[in-house]
Structure formats: C-alpha cells, structure tokens
C-alpha cells in the first residue's frame, strides 16, 4: 500500500523514512432490500421482520397500534436484533433504530403514543442501545409526556452512561417539564 503520495507539480515530500507492509480496504454494509412479505410468517428473519414492521410504522393509525403491540413483545425484539448485534453494533446501526426513526419521521400522535408506551416497557430497557435510542427519540415528543419525564429521570444518574444523552434530549425537547427536569438534576 502506498502510504505517502506526492503528486507531480502538486506537493513536496517529507521524511524519506518508513517501512511498510500492506493493508487493504473493503466495504461492509447492512442493506435491506427484501420485498414486503407477510407479517404472520416473519419470525425467523430479522430483515423480513424489519421490513414488515416498517410498513406498519408507515401505515394508518391502526397499523401503528399493531406496531406498538409487536414492539412490546420481547420475542419480536430478540428476532429483530440478536444479542450479538447489541454487542457489536452501534445503536443507530440496529434494525430497531430504523423503526424508531420511522416513528420520529411520522411525528404524529400515534407515533408519540408508541414512543411513550415503550418508555414503560420493562423488556425495552433490557438493552442499553434501546434505552439510548428511546432517550433521543422522546426529545421529539412535545410537550414531554409524564412517561417521557419519568423515563429520562431514571437515566439521569452520573456515570450511568445515559445522562449525557438525557440532558441533550431534554434541551432539544425544550418543553417546560423537560427543562424543569434538567434543572432538578
């Protein structure tokens, strides 16, 4: 691998010292392009499940209610992203992050209701990444609901790994309850 490059008529060199072996580059990407399939059978394939849930997130209010029911089911969460995924991926690279983003983009009362309900679900809080995603997502729910405030309050302890996010989320939210929480903590 060339580690120092000096284009003609464009640059001058620095030290004439170095030794090298080679490194190479490749690209990894997580791309979901599978067509929509029947939700009833979507239990063993994360990508298929994700696409089905994404359709619900983009559907009418009744479909969003169905999404809420599914996201409160620990088995669905486990299929969507594996334990290994939670260990090795950044939160925003998980499938669940795509669904949360769809709810944020939707931004209506139905979407806000789902986010608030997730804040109450014990299963949701079993993975740090899901807590992190929800802390940030709730910033878009204005004014902040009592459920959101309670959730943020729970994750505002020093060195808990979430407090930085919670403070940012409250400030981004900007509603009185959120600002009051920052002041209190």
């Amino acid at each position: 691998m060339k580690i120092t490059r000096f284009p003609l008529l464009a640059a001058s060199a620095c030290a004439v010292i170095a030794c090298g072996d080679s490194t190479a580059t490749d690209a990894t990407a997580r791309i979901a392009t599978i067509e929509e399939t029947a939700m009833a059978e979507a239990t063993s394939n994360s990508e298929t499940l994700f696409n089905g849930l994404l359709e619900l997130a983009r559907g009418d209010a009744s479909r969003v209610s169905e999404l809420q029911r599914r996201l409160l089911d620990p088995a669905v969460l486990d299929v969507l992203d594996s334990k290994a995924d939670y260990e090795t991926e950044m939160p925003e690279d998980l499938y669940i992050a795509g669904l949360i983003q769809a709810l944020i983009d939707r931004g209506d009362a139905a979407a806000h209701k789902v986010l608030s309900q997730l804040a109450l679900a014990p299963a949701w809080a079993k993975e740090d990444a899901r807590i992190e995603l929800l802390i940030r997502a709730l910033a878009t729910v204005r004014p902040a609901t009592p459920d959101a405030i309670a959730f943020w309050d729970k994750y505002s302890e020093p060195e808990d790994g979430f407090a930085n996010l919670t403070i940012d989320a409250c400030i981004v939210n900007g509603s009185s309850p959120a600002i009051d929480l920052v002041a209190k903590n």
Partner: protein, 344 residues
C-alpha cells in the same frame, strides 16, 4: 496523468534509510540529482538511478532535494527530510463497562491497529512502541501483551462520554510523558446523529508555540507558488498549531481515546479506520490542527484548521475524509511534530 510516490520504505541493517521512488505509469523515471539543502542532510541513489523504481538512501540528517526527470524533462523536485526514527513509548488501556458497554477490540486487535497507525506516522519520522513498564494504576489489569491493560468501570465512564471537557477514561492507568491510548465504548452522538471515532484529550503546548513557518523550495505540500518554474518564488508559509489542552494537575499527560464507532476491529476496513484514527488523533496530540476544513463529520465546529488550504483532500489531518484518502503529512507538519514535548 502520472504521479510520483515515495513508498515501500525499508530500513536497512545499518539504520540508514531507504526510500523507493516510483512513478504511476509504465514510463521510466530518472533521478537526476540528490542535493543537500540544509542542516547537513545527505542522501544518495542506491542502485540504478533509472527505472520504474529508484531507491534513495539517507546518509545524514537534514533536508535534501531530489530531482526527477521523465523522458528527459524535469517533472518533479521533492524536498525531503532525512532523520532517524524517533521511537515513542506508549501504552493502551481498554476501558470496559458492564455488559453491552464494552469495547470491541482486544489486545491482539490493538497491536494490529498500532502497526497500521505507525505506517502512516513513519513518514513523519516517528514510531510508537509499547512500553514494557510495570506501572499499573486505577485497578487496571495487565494483559498477555506488555503495554496493554484492561480496566473495568461504570458504564458512563466508557459509554456516551461527553465530547466536551476532560473524560475520566483517558486519565485512567496513565503514565507521565509517554503516549496513553484508551479504547472506550463510545462518545455521545453528535446532534446530527454522527459518532466520534476518536479524540485527543490531553496534550501540552508545542515548543514552537502556536505557529510554525517554512520558506523552503519547493514549498511544503507544493502550496502555490511552489518556487519551481514556471511558478513564482515560494513564499513563507505559516501553519497554526493547537494550543495546550490540559486538565488541572496533570501537566505530563498525553492521551487520546478511540471508540467502537471505528467499526469491526478485525475487518480490513475497520482496522484501517482504527489505525488512521489513531494516527490522526496523534497528530492533534502533537499540536497539529485540521488541514483545510473547519468541520468534523456531522457539521460540528472544531477547534479550527491550520490556516493552509493545500492539499485539499489528501492530508492525514483532513477533518473528515476517509482513511482511504486522507493519508499524507507534509514538511511543515513534520517540523511541528518534532517540536512537541512528546517527541523531545
């Protein structure tokens, strides 16, 4: 379009330094001359002075000029600095939180990341070696690889740490006056959602102050005017440096962190990202600012660029270009690097 490269460097048994001059075309180059410029620098062609690769061997420290011809016409003049490699001791501490908040990299991964970082830094005459000192602090534990340690912490010390201020993580298990690398889980996401790959957190001021200049020919990085015909005489170029960034009561701490956002520590792409992130942040520890852009990924303002706008994309200190593109350091940066207290 042809491009001229210095690559595939070899250090011979006598600790003299060889550079292989190559050209990215099938045509043959000829090294016309190797001149001493200043400081008693001397080098000589090693073997044939013609071909698709020509070796140049450094003999004495100082600046030299290598003139290259192609089909009889002078096509490049390359100013270079001959020096012995400065070896800098370093240690790594892996900072793990509870389950789900650990680092992806283990000791053997880190050895590979450091090796890649060294490939990029060697062009500046520096080379990081693991310190074999036995000092252990803050309940850290030694690993099987001397110089690499682990420490268990509360989640918030390693996960979503604040980009502002001085993180606790980079103070853990450190030793004065050597480079302290810390692997952590993550920095809090930027408002845009982007993630920080790494950050330099603690470094004293450069012995050069906050600016450093060069007026040689050709100009550093061939910043126009280069001083080579038909260009006008080279001007004095001044590069801004970072001022010190130090927490209270730790004046001899040199530290930076690397995060899981660099990706898989074992894939080729991931290793390159870890390696170049380390090399880039080391640049900051050695007082280099960003080259050309004043923004980082995510559009958040940083501490400012170095005042030079060339090269536009290829410099290792570019704020956000990928590792496959931002790889070079130039003479002015080398000059600055060797004025850091860390390279003293």
């Amino acid at each position: 379009m042809v491009s001229c490269c210095l690559d595939e460097f070899v250090q011979d048994d006598a600790s003299l330094f060889l550079a292989c001059l190559t050209i990215a075309s099938s045509e043959l180059i000829e090294v016309l001359a190797v001149h001493s410029i200043s400081g008693g620098g001397r080098a000589e062609v090693f073997g044939s002075n013609k071909g698709d690769q020509v070796y140049v061997r450094g003999i004495a420290s100082g600046e030299i000029l290598i003139e290259v011809t192609l089909d009889g016409a002078r096509v490049a003049a390359i100013r270079a600095r001959v020096m012995r490699i400065k070896k800098i001791k370093c240690r790594f501490t892996i900072v793990n939180g509870p389950r789900g908040s650990g680092t992806l990299s283990g000791p053997s991964d880190i050895v590979k990341h450091l090796a890649i970082a060294n490939r990029f830094l060697r062009q500046a005459g520096i080379w990081f070696v693991l310190d074999t000192g036995k000092t252990i602090k803050d309940r850290a534990r030694a690993t099987k690889i001397p110089g690499i340690f682990r420490v268990s912490v509360a989640r918030g010390v390693t996960r979503n740490i604040s980009l502002a201020g001085f993180p606790k993580a980079t103070q853990l298990n450190y030793v004065e006056n050597l480079m302290n690398f810390v692997y952590i889980h993550s920095c809090a996401p930027l408002p845009s959602g982007g993630r920080i790959l790494g950050a330099a957190t603690d470094f004293p001021a450069s012995r050069a102050g906050t600016r450093i200049s060069d007026s040689g020919t050709p100009s550093s990085s061939w910043i126009p005017p280069t001083g080579l015909p038909p260009d006008a005489t080279a001007k004095r170029n001044t590069m801004k440096l970072l001022d010190r960034r130090q927490r209270n009561n730790h004046p001899k701490l040199f530290a930076m962190y690397i995060t899981n956002a660099c990706g898989s520590p074992t894939s080729n792409a991931g290793m390159l990202t870890y390696g170049t992130t380390i090399a880039h942040e080391i640049g900051h520890v050695l007082s280099l600012r960003h080259r050309n852009l004043n923004i980082m990924r995510g559009g958040v303002e940083t501490s400012g660029h170095d005042g030079l706008k060339h090269p536009p994309q290829e410099n290792l200190m570019h704020a956000n270009n990928p590792a496959t593109q931002a790889q070079d350091l130039d003479l002015l940066q080398v000059k600055a690097i060797h004025r850091s207290p860390l390279t003293r």
